[in-house]
Amino acid sequence: MRSRYPSRGSTFEYYTWLFTRLSGIFMLLMAAFGIVYANLAGGRTLMDMPTQYRWSFFPTYWHVQNSDIPDVFPNWSNSFWQIYALLLFLVAAMHGFNGLRVVAEDYIHRPYLLLFAKWLVLILFLFTLFAGTIIVFELFI
């Protein structure tokens, strides 16, 4: 049975353990900043609750477009929010797919199957990152 805590020799496991905690705090702070911005910029009266949640999870303008906010295009769709969204997406994807790797290590005991699962997780991570970048910067052909 693998220990849930990293052993002293394993720096990789230690750094992923630390990254999971730090990125968790980081994502909470980013979501809090997003929801505070939304309320200061008129969300309190012009947005419903689901719209505020959608914006704070992932701040892209089409998440607020069907609310009553009048100035979506200059204020909610600039490159600041694009970079913010991409950073949040990158951190969240690393946190999530690293978690999937940990779950796979817990339940898959055959070495080759585990290696295959880890490669699958890596490929899914890279593809999701690619798709997220295309979506955030609207690079569709």
Partner: protein
């Protein structure tokens, strides 16, 4: 842990680890739930914009439905609160003496903050709204 101890699934579901094991299992389940929801959302949005196919439209309809919204709200809120408690205990080990009290405190925050919006969303389904 369910499998490593060689207990049956029914035995494992009886939560002999009590609230600690419930927190561990829920953290794992909600984490996978978020990953599945966000992954389906991103990939469906990508293919919907790139191809406009029926499969992406179907996935979009599923994750935009209210039961799915309630589920993902449960997942995100539980995972965030439990993760925050875990970080606090990891960074400040003396608090581990009050581990059980912290778990109860966490449920005390979670239940109203989850329950009220979930109740509002449920009543909107039952009254035939969106």
């Amino acid at each position: 842990m369910f499998r490593g101890r060689h207990v049956g699934y029914l035995e494992g579901l009886r939560y002999k680890g009590k609230e600690h094991m419930l927190a561990w299992a829920l953290h794992r389940i909600t984490g996978l739930g978020i990953l599945i929801f966000v992954g389906a959302h991103v990939i469906a949005a990508f293919f919907l914009n790139a191809l406009g196919d029926d499969v992406s439209t179907t996935i979009t309809t599923i994750y935009e439905s209210t039961p799915m919204q309630i589920f993902v709200y449960f997942c995100v809120l539980y995972h965030a609160l439990n993760g925050l408690r875990l970080i606090v205990e990891d960074l400040w080990p003396p608090l581990l003496r009050y581990h059980r009290e912290l778990l109860w405190f966490q449920w005390l925050i979670f239940l109203p903050v989850f329950g009220l919006p979930a109740f509002l969303m449920l009543t909107s389904i039952l009254s035939g709204g969106a």
